[in-house]
Symmetry: C2
Subunit: 597 residues, 2 copies
């Protein structure tokens, strides 16, 4: 049976020592979010995740959700866990106090997301999707919609969904066919069928609020003709209770590789009453408002699963004895040495750890940039932070889920045959991690977003800003002898990234197929460099702490620097090959015609 | 629902045009194995796999094996399929005619293995393990054991297993505790418990013949004190039927991530009657005889799963319409273009195809080398072929299963969300593929075998021979303008491999931990180069065919060269980064002490 302990020391390092919780505290509106409050929330979140959510993870996977007569039953214990989650106010952690939320920084929400995903990713989908619906409504809904729905989404009485995909329209939302007809009374009649609706139907809440993309009768073709509607399962009464059942029904649930405790539903809308969110035909804008936050949240799933997989792999590697260490017996009194003494096992563990800690740093940084982009008094600072968040969103989504999946697999491998057996729990992490690479825009779509939208955005302003940050950090770090080697390795990788970015900007401008053929390798290269950036930054902070005399904490900071060295020496070199691959050009892909396959 | 068609054109290319079936036909004992016979066998094998085994793959996964009262029931249809398999003589394809086998070349067996694994990997485990038992007995059993068991293993009346692993002893067989006491009558009493026994109990055959590793009372410690025993489920009578039940029982079956139709058993031996195979304390030798063939067979699983995953991903990519091609609409009359026109989808498909076709070539080459190593009249040729087989065994096992898993994942990704849903069949390929990286020696163990045993073997004779073959091929291919670019890319990667090999030989001689820390990256580098070798060789043959005027077949050969170009430009560059990583040295792993984790 796997175990989980929230990595609070490392989370505090990221929040307090790296990003700086006092800087968040200084932002207007976050006056109450003192570093002490952060710590108190972290302790409570850890308790919730370790004691309430984690114990339901394996049983939830084994039992799964069941579908009968249009109703979905969540696995045993999920309803109680939801009630505990709601009672603790976790559904509204970063929501506005105006609607009953706690108004804490978004940075903290990502930290909570990591812990929830480590302990029970399927469970985490329920509040995750509700929060997505909250974001769409708070940003695009009119006052009446806000008054009717937000408080109940925030306090967890009701839950929300995102209804985008149709059987024939996933990545390409421009071809959806769900229709919305004006009902004459200001409302609309929604008809169509949506698939892959996470938490589309369940037994955790009295009501489920669907945010649905549909086409009005006069809609222009493509994505410019899509509108967003609120379609509740039960129509709310004047006094805010649930009223008559709407024309919304669950047709079936999918049988999936993983996240089996999260129901993935076919949701049918049959002349259902809906309410327009924002302007007609501007639904894609509202969709992206929530989608961008969801993409960052999906990235946290990759990190969370990698973290719990790592913890269990380390525990197993300390415990399991097998063979002798290459330099001779380490435990001569035992029949064999613990496998953590085998270099190849350590290499596996280090690949995972060098991902989790840098990903945690990046999520802390991006979270803080999001907070700055919304609350900083200086518009220039807000804009800069917003640019960086936009640039990093596809990286966090795609690179974290790619490496989350790889990490779960590395960790499974440490268990040998036991990793393949259900009871040890490792194979569930692999199955659960696989979906992150697919939903909320496949990782191929993220790569195209990076190359096709984020790089050219405002004439490359975001990426140029980012390169500036990298250059400054490398220059500073070079001055610190303890980490100068890491700085040099980072500089080489950054140099390759800059070179390739120029190449792509030129080649892609001439031929979009050229950029498209390079996109995934470029995203991998970019992600590899960004995590290298985090390692250099963390190593610099750790080195400064050691210089200042870290006492009992010295081992923590020394290990940080060691892990940074591992990443610099054994992961960053991938940048070279990725660069060569991209620079070889797109012809080997683009001239390989469909009939050749 | 997925589909499968045996890739007969490409298999024939490998057998007839690349490896040369006429060369196999010329070996003593293979006089009847004419190219026509090869073709006839291929056609029948394809029919069997497509029509009998493949239709049971998804249902077998969904139903799984069941365990009740010590008995294992295989999924519906498996018993009938086994009977069809046996009736067709497939269990004895490459077994000796002396024991009722068909005596066909081993090369053909690997081809059959690929098709079986494409169509139903779980099913393939049953004959696969039986063949392993056959190999151990035919090479190490005495005449009586051979007379008693071989014909029935070959004709499929009985099945076999390999009982090595114990709960505390997997990779490290030196610490097994299963005991064998002499019974006084020449037989032994075997007591102990084995785990992870594939096909350890099932309902396909009347009897199951376990090959069991155990320790005699006077056994030296470690692997030098292990003996091998035949322990049948039912003791055979004088006339070759089944007699009394032996002290062998199945304690349980594992609940696994995949290969659910293959029962993975706990097998308990309780004073069971066993018969010594070979000499006392020399069981590891017999074990490796069968293990080496099994490792190659496991490699075929990676290839087989990648092939079927590829076929389905291509079909989906042609059929699914979504978005527009980057250079503008390709199917303007349809709402969107088939996704095969998206460069990133093609890139995914090409990564898989550039693996499957080169892996098929390598399995054909290694199979033919195995045949040559056993049957060539010239001892020097036999030795050379044997060296190369030994060198390639860990590559085929580890690289094919690593890339088989990666390929199944690439193919799943093409399906987007549908890839994650069971009915489309892709997620089963991923789950089934994951085990290949673990069993018959984890891929980490394969890498250590490559670095620690195969490289230094006979002062590097095998690897030097292999480099000689590479150098000669590159020199020839450079003269052919059509493929000179591929030759140059291959030469760069080979140069990096040679450089790193020298580095490792020196560093590893001083400190075994240095080689161990580099092993997995080195194995990946070696595997990447070997598949590059196959691509260059295939491209050369294809180019010669085009020069000679290939008529209707021109498209086939031109596509071969295109795929070789893709591999050279977009996969081979990985060699550079792997080289850098290895040359960074082992300190970042070896000095990272256990308490730091």
């Amino acid at each position: 049976m796997p175990t989980y302990r929230a990595p609070l020391r490392d989370i505090r390092f990221v929040l307090h020592e790296l990003v700086g919780s006092e800087k968040l505290n200084a932002l207007p509106g976050y006056e109450d979010a003192t570093p002490d409050v952060f710590d108190a929330v972290l302790d409570e979140a850890a308790k919730l995740c370790e004691e309430v959510l984690f114990p339901l993870n394996q049983s939830g996977d084994a039992e799964g959700c069941t579908f009968e007569n249009g109703e979905v039953r969540t696995p045993s214990g999920f309803k109680d866990a939801w009630n505990t989650f709601v009672a603790g106010g976790w559904t509204g952690l970063a929501s506005s106090p105006e609607w009953g939320g706690q108004g804490l920084p978004l940075t903290l929400r990502y930290v909570l997301d990591e812990m929830i995903c480590s302990s029970n990713m399927s469970f985490g989908m329920f509040p995750g999707l509700s929060h997505g619906a909250y974001i769409a409504l708070v940003n695009h809904g009119d006052d009446e919609l806000k008054r009717t729905y937000l408080a109940k989404l925030v306090d967890g009485t009701w839950a929300g969904t995102m209804c985008l995909t149709e059987a024939h329209a996933g990545t390409d939302l421009g071809i959806i066919t769900t229709r919305a007809e004006p009902a004459g009374d200001g409302a609309y009649r929604i008809t169509g069928s949506k698939i892959f609706i996470t938490a589309g139907e369940h037994d955790l809440t009295d009501n489920i609020i669907h945010l649905v993309l549909a086409r009005l009768p006069d809609a222009p073709e493509g994505t410019r003709g899509i509108s967003m509607f609120v379609v509740p399962k039960f129509l709310p009464t004047e006094d805010g209770n649930i009223g008559t059942r709407n024309g919304v029904s669950c047709g079936s649930i999918e049988h999936k590789m993983g996240i089996k405790a999260s129901p993935t539903c076919v949701i049918n809308f049959d002349d259902a009453t809906g309410f327009l969110v924002g302007e007609p035909h501007k639904g894609m804008r509202a969709m992206f408002t929530m989608m961008n936050e969801e993409r960052l949240a999906v990235g946290m799933q990759g990190l969370g699963l990698a973290e719990v997989a790592y913890q269990n792999a380390v525990a197993y590697a300390r415990d399991r004895v097998q063979g002798r260490a290459p330099r001779g017996p380490v435990a001569p009194d035992m029949p064999a040495d613990p496998i953590i003494h085998h270099p190849d096992v350590r290499r596996n563990l280090l690949l995972v750890r060098s991902f989790t800690e840098s990903a945690r740093a990046l999520s802390g940084w991006v979270g803080s940039l999001q907070d700055i982009s919304r609350r900083h008094p200086d518009e220039a600072r807000r804009q800069e932070a917003g640019d960086l968040v936009a640039l990093m969103t596809p990286i966090v989504k795609a690179h974290f889920t790619d490496l989350g999946f790889e990490s779960a697999n590395h960790a499974l491998q440490v268990f040998g045959g036991h990793g393949y057996v259900r009871e040890f729990g490792m194979e569930q992490y692999v199955r659960d991690a696989r979906i992150g690479m697919i939903y909320e825009g496949t990782n191929g779509v993220q790569a195209l977003d990076l190359v096709g939208r984020k790089l050219p955005m405002d004439n490359g302003r975001a990426v140029m800003r980012y390169f500036g940050i990298l250059t400054a950090l490398i220059a500073e770090a070079r001055e610190d002898k303890r980490i100068a080697g890491i700085a040099e390795a980072t500089e080489r990788a950054v140099g390759k990234l800059q070179q390739v970015t120029m190449h792509l900007a030129q080649a892609g401008a001439k031929d979009p197929a050229e950029a498209a053929a390079a996109a995934t390798d470029y995203q991998r290269l970019f992600g590899t460099v960004v995590l290298g950036h985090m390692w250099l930054w963390m190593a610099k902070v750790a080195s400064e702490k050691l210089d200042a005399g870290a006492g009992d904490e010295s081992a923590f900071y020394e290990t940080k620097i060691r892990t940074a060295q591992f990443y610099a020496l054994r992961v960053l070199p991938q940048a070279t090959s990725l660069g060569h691959t991209i620079q070889s050009g797109g012809a080997s892909v683009n001239e390989y015609t469909p009939e050749m396959f």
